[in-house]
Assembly symmetry: C4
Homo-oligomer: 264 residues x 4
Amino acid sequence: MTMNPRKTTIVFKKGITLRNPILIVGLPGIGNVGKLVAEHLRREYKAKKFATLYSPYLPDRVVMLKNGMVKLSNNSFYLLKASKNVKNDIVILTGDAQGISSRGRYEINTKITEFFKEKLKGSFIYTIGGYTPGNTFVKDPKVFGSATSKQVIAQFKGSEVVFGKSKGFIMGSAGLIVAFAKMRHMDAVCLMGETSMLDVDASAAKAVLLVLAKRLNLHIDLSKLDKIIEETAKIIRDLERQVSVGTQLEKLHKEPEAHPSYIR
Amino acid sequence: MTMNPRKTTIVFKKGITLRNPILIVGLPGIGNVGKLVAEHLRREYKAKKFATLYSPYLPDRVVMLKNGMVKLSNNSFYLLKASKNVKNDIVILTGDAQGISSRGRYEINTKITEFFKEKLKGSFIYTIGGYTPGNTFVKDPKVFGSATSKQVIAQFKGSEVVFGKSKGFIMGSAGLIVAFAKMRHMDAVCLMGETSMLDVDASAAKAVLLVLAKRLNLHIDLSKLDKIIEETAKIIRDLERQVSVGTQLEKLHKEPEAHPSYIR
Amino acid sequence: MTMNPRKTTIVFKKGITLRNPILIVGLPGIGNVGKLVAEHLRREYKAKKFATLYSPYLPDRVVMLKNGMVKLSNNSFYLLKASKNVKNDIVILTGDAQGISSRGRYEINTKITEFFKEKLKGSFIYTIGGYTPGNTFVKDPKVFGSATSKQVIAQFKGSEVVFGKSKGFIMGSAGLIVAFAKMRHMDAVCLMGETSMLDVDASAAKAVLLVLAKRLNLHIDLSKLDKIIEETAKIIRDLERQVSVGTQLEKLHKEPEAHPSYIR
Amino acid sequence: MTMNPRKTTIVFKKGITLRNPILIVGLPGIGNVGKLVAEHLRREYKAKKFATLYSPYLPDRVVMLKNGMVKLSNNSFYLLKASKNVKNDIVILTGDAQGISSRGRYEINTKITEFFKEKLKGSFIYTIGGYTPGNTFVKDPKVFGSATSKQVIAQFKGSEVVFGKSKGFIMGSAGLIVAFAKMRHMDAVCLMGETSMLDVDASAAKAVLLVLAKRLNLHIDLSKLDKIIEETAKIIRDLERQVSVGTQLEKLHKEPEAHPSYIR
């Protein structure tokens, strides 16, 4: 299939069949909690990439890879097959960017929700984000939840996830995918690690990971966890620095889109 | 019906029939006068929600509800049925946001106007807004009006609404819906409470409420009015604070959409 | 015809036939030179409005009129019929705003050029703008020209219009309409009054008016000209002040469209 | 053919047949390295213009030419025919601007890639850009590369191009065209001259030119090279100054596109 970069498109291997898959979405956002969780799961469990979303609503950035080749900014789907312990196939969605306009984020996340329901026949979605309660430094991060229904909330009874105590808005994929899942009669929950507005908050990610591992029956070697999370955080921080240089460059030359001398 | 979040859509119960309905539009804007009026009417008269507008031109925000569930940013229609005193069914439109671009506001307000005329068979629209005359503090707020025709203005003879004395522009739904109603040969008026640029101006809202109550023959318990308005204002102010935190967060990371080093 | 505000549309009286019409375009821009010239011609010669362009790419502003009624921001076409002295029907295009994005200006000005060629069967277009040569104060403003062809430039031989001495770019309708006319094999010229970056530059407008009057054989009462131009300038300045207040209000609440915490 | 300015369109002479063409893309960007290289090749080898890309995603700017005529901002294709030394027809793409939004750049660069593959039957693309390693002043600029495949990288064995040592993102045409070429199974490489963030970096351009000349077997008179590059740089700098004045003007009047008082 030749891809048309003008449209939001998910390229995937035809004929893939998953076993009652659940989706975990972790993209850049507040504290990078979502991205940190998704990258950790992907690396730790050696999940295999099987689908890629491209979109003209993502930033027009091409990543320079260490092997000398290029990669267009995208969101990628990774697969962790079900096993003796883990009953569901787990699909992990992560990437280096979200859409750059509100309208673009509507388009991209509608596509993701449709793809998971119609192509992958999935039934449950976790989105991961960060939540900033205020100006205080967070020592023991809680995990807040917001869900599609009372039934989903009930499933977290006995867990450490706190529902109904976080205020305000969830922005980007973490919120939209849960809202769009609700419209399509799917179950979904947004799990938010409490964060002190760090750029890359490893301790908020750890809190969410512990909740997820228990829910999904994923084995986690606690003695290694801290070390691995910190390594993942370091990789993201390196990426941050490079983007930061790029953004600085852009700001130097920023030109207004609107020409208000035309508007009187 | 499965909703497609890519399009501006109004989801409503099929088969609803209204009795000569009038529409009152009160959305966020200057002094939050419109939102304050609409929320007050909705709460005071226990109007029932019967339709919801979703749009990719609204901000991509998902509200965390107190019951632990999510709600996508939207504009909602509430119904106050006609009674012995009130001859018309009254439809109240309010929400937590307006469209985030001029083009999006054209799209959303065209949809609202079409829906009211074609689906609800409505014939008269009130939009509510705030009007800032200058830098002086407003003590006794006037109510200014701008209408679709002389006939509509004539209906306000004897009322306290001042026509032709406000200058400049009405922006957002409060203006567009009146202009679009005119194009579709409907009657409409924008009522603007005079405001001193407060974020939430309860006294400007009260001035408009008194005008509306008289026009629509709504009973208002004057002894309770001030207290109720202030309670409504408090709820909106709380919401304001949460959005304000969200906005601060976004500003921290703002990236330019245009890359002007490309434009020489 | 019911207008659809979602599309850029020109509403006009069917069956109108013009006599070899020429178009003069004067919209808001540098020094408001174009708008000043167009408004002056329209008022002085009592040109009659016969067509209106609406567009979702114009700002979503509704003007409050002195008669208490509303008017959606638009661009309007006025007609000055040919007479003994004036051989061509003259169409004047002016308005309170230009499109608010580059893409919107492409759409609106394509529509204008098509309308003039296909519906009005026009053959020559003047666009009027301001030109800022540098930081010096301009005492005796020159008139600079930029045209679609050598043949058009040759028509200005003997006039005071200077071709090929202005540098840089023409932005908005003044430039786009000339470029689009060239693509459609029409003749067009942009006449630019030299301006010192005033908001409303009456003396630059006067320089262009004198050139236009001679070209079009319009009678101008020189003894009254200065007074009338200054009156027109005053009306525009009043409008400016109102827009300026509106813009201030908007800036107070500006929210970023892009959420760069999503882009890493 | 009448052009429709609403769409991204490439206007070209029908019936043109090229001999195994390669494409060199040099547009405005970091250090103007790409533009400098493309302009140098075009002037030095007297390449002939044969196709022009117009787009509503380019800025709405009309250039005032020295001959008194207008030219719409565009990207142009120039042809340098194959000769005894040069085996391939060389197509040079340059212009005064890139698209002004990320989405627009997706559209424009998809069009360019399609045009080169389907209409020109081309098979290899060079895009030229600048690369800023950090804050240090670059004395002897290196040339970094990023390519579509290992096979392309292997072709540069023995050259001075360094693959896999540059980090971060390539933005705009220089990156997108290589990524889109990869999607369409074409070979492409981005060559980046190391630059110290000058506006017009002649020495980074020279480094890339030397690499290109050797690869394409173009004869370069080294004794004249420095002088010619500096002349080209001067022409671009003059253009820069004019744009800079235009941008200043726009900033004076910038009006926000979003009206956040609507978003609560």
